[in-house]
């Protein structure tokens, strides 16, 4: 009997656990540890943030879902990993602390034969003083945050309806933040809701970003075929903002958020301020802060985790300049090199380096995006990790036949620009591969046939369709396994 422990029930963790449960005999245990009681379809949080979906439309309870399919669920957070056991326990285990209301604070050691660390990111609001819900800005990174953002947005809308002007500032809230795509989606939706109410003359909407150029999205931008040209996503993204009368500040590292003012440094080293009435700013991400110990009780956190808290996997972590980065640096099986029975799909793995070129101001501030790994890459890596563990359990051998490098996999990013089946819109972006492979595609870094940027209703329909399709899959409804990641 094998015990497979999955930390996290986000896209990667949930995908891994459901595939493991489907393909492994019931004599094997699949255990999920997650501090949250709910699964959330994160891409639709944008619609919660503009009041187009309720919180319950983007989430469902994990306990019922897992009970139905025979997965053991523990509502708890992982505290430490003990891959060699300890003096009193020869089995590898993870120490967890319950967050379930009737068990809060209770600790338990959960043994495992295979560990899938899919904890996702910690939203590191504290890295920017004054940033985040409960302080001076809002966020759409979780459904609770998005619902709070909608409350605050309604307050601004109410003021505009009374004739008061409002300044909206949306973008990245840290010099090294990622997820520009989500923030970009939110600014377009905020504009749509304001325009729908015919209040744009009272709204000053501004985009603030750590990207060197707009359209970078943490993946070094992309080239797309549009209007008889092969053009950069910079043009595509800027056109989207210009069309809506949205202005922008680029190459900006937000360092502090005051009650109604953001303080930021530009890549040229100059310091600036920007006033706002409503600010949605994405925080920096880090690993969840897990520690690790060997059998003797010695701290081996740095063996298992990179300095940013993400798990080390089969990537090439050799420090090298941007010009020497290769597609082969990126991991393909998400296996820890020291403890081979530990895997880290989704956001939990430590990338070998960013995708966008690191940029430093004269003051030494790194103002450039971290690499995104949300959505499709999380689902795909969660699945191949599950498939490799299933093979290992069934054959007793680490075959590792299933691979999915971000330098070989594509991704679709559907940027909603307004919720409406005939009056809404979206930007559909697909990139193939996610990480540029300049050796294979020397002209554009990617396969231009499958790297697409297109605006229109079709993108909105796709995003809307995918909301229901992926929730159907996540809930384990009939034929869920036929749907792609």
């Amino acid at each position: 009997m094998a015990k497979i422990l999955i930390l996290g029930a986000g896209i990667a963790g949930h995908t891994a656990s459901t595939w493991l449960r489907k393909k492994l005999n019931k004599k094997h245990e699949v255990i999920v540890v997650s501090p949250a009681a709910y699964y959330q379809w994160v891409p639709s949080n944008i619609w919660v943030g503009v009041g187009k979906m309720s919180v319950d439309e983007v989430r469902f309870r994990l306990d019922k879902r897992y009970k139905k399919s025979g997965i053991i669920f523990k509502q708890a957070k992982a505290v430490s990993i003990h891959p060699e056991g300890d003096k009193s326990n020869n089995n590898a285990f993870v120490r967890i602390e319950y967050t379930k209301p009737d068990m809060v604070g209770k600790q338990e050691d959960v043994d495992y034969d295979f560990l899938v660390n899919a904890t996702g990111p910690k939203l590191k609001f504290e890295a920017t003083p004054g940033l985040g819900p409960g302080k001076n800005s809002v966020s759409v990174c979780s459904y609770e945050h998005a619902a709070h953002a909608w409350e605050k947005l309604q307050e601004s809308i109410a003021k505009m309806e009374k004739g008061e002007k409002q300044k909206f500032l949306i973008g990245t809230g840290h010099p090294g933040a990622t997820c520009q795509g989500a923030a970009f989606e939110y600014i377009l939706n905020v504009h749509y809701e304001i325009a729908k109410r015919k209040l744009t003359h009272l709204a000053g909407i501004k985009w603030i970003t750590n990207e060197f150029e707009l359209g970078d999205f943490g993946m070094g931008g992309a080239y797309i075929k549009r209007g008889g040209y092969i053009t950069s996503t910079k043009t595509f993204a800027e056109s989207f903002l210009k069309e809506r009368g949205i202005t922008w500040i680029k190459r900006a590292g937000v360092k502090k958020v005051g009650p109604k003012k953001v303080f930021y440094e530009l890549l040229d080293g100059s310091e600036h301020e920007e006033a706002f009435d409503f600010a949605m700013l994405i925080p920096a991400f880090s690993g969840p802060g897990l520690t690790a110990f060997n059998k003797k009780g010695e701290d081996i956190t740095s063996t298992l985790f990179a300095a940013n808290g993400f798990t080390k996997v089969d990537a090439d972590y050799t420090k090298k300049p941007f010009e020497e980065w290769k597609a082969a640096d990126w991991p393909s099986i998400y296996q820890n090199p020291t403890y081979k029975n530990i895997f880290a799909p989704g956001i939990a793995f430590a990338p070998p380096h960013p995708i966008s070129k690191p940029m430093f101001s004269p003051n030494g501030t790194n103002i450039s995006p971290a690499p995104p790994r949300t959505g499709m890459p999380s689902g795909v890596t969660g699945k191949i990790v599950a498939e490799n563990i299933i093979d290992w359990v069934k054959t007793g051998k680490p075959l590792m036949k299933h691979k999915a490098s971000m330098a070989k996999m594509g991704a679709a990013c559907l940027v909603s620009a307004g919720f409406g089946h005939f009056k809404g819109g979206a930007a559909t972006m697909t990139v193939y591969p996610i990480v540029q492979d300049w050796d294979k595609h020397p002209l554009y870094g990617r396969d231009i046939r499958y790297t697409v940027g297109e605006a229109g209703l079709a993108g909105h329909w796709l995003k809307w369709f995918m909301h229901y399709m992926f929730l159907h899959k996540a809930k384990g409804y009939p034929f869920w396994w036929l749907l792609p990641e």
């Binding site: 800027e238 210009k242 299933h402 594509g410 679709a412 005939f422 697909t430 297109e454 229109g456």
Partner: protein, 54 residues
């Protein structure tokens, strides 16, 4: 805000990007054409999904 009410400030960042024409905006919301695009985009995404992992 209508386009005519806006003023382009020469040499500003915002003065350079392309603006969609009325025809472009029309095609973006002309649903029969968008149904076709929806099918094309679905095929492209499925090709990406199929080729992304082994």
């Amino acid at each position: 805000m209508k386009t005519e009410e806006r003023r382009t400030i020469a040499y500003s960042e915002e003065s350079y990007p392309p603006m969609p024409t009325k025809a472009t905006l029309y095609w973006r919301r002309f649903w029969p054409y968008q149904v076709l695009r929806w099918l094309v985009l679905n095929i492209k995404i499925l090709r990406i999904v199929a080729g992304g992992h082994s």
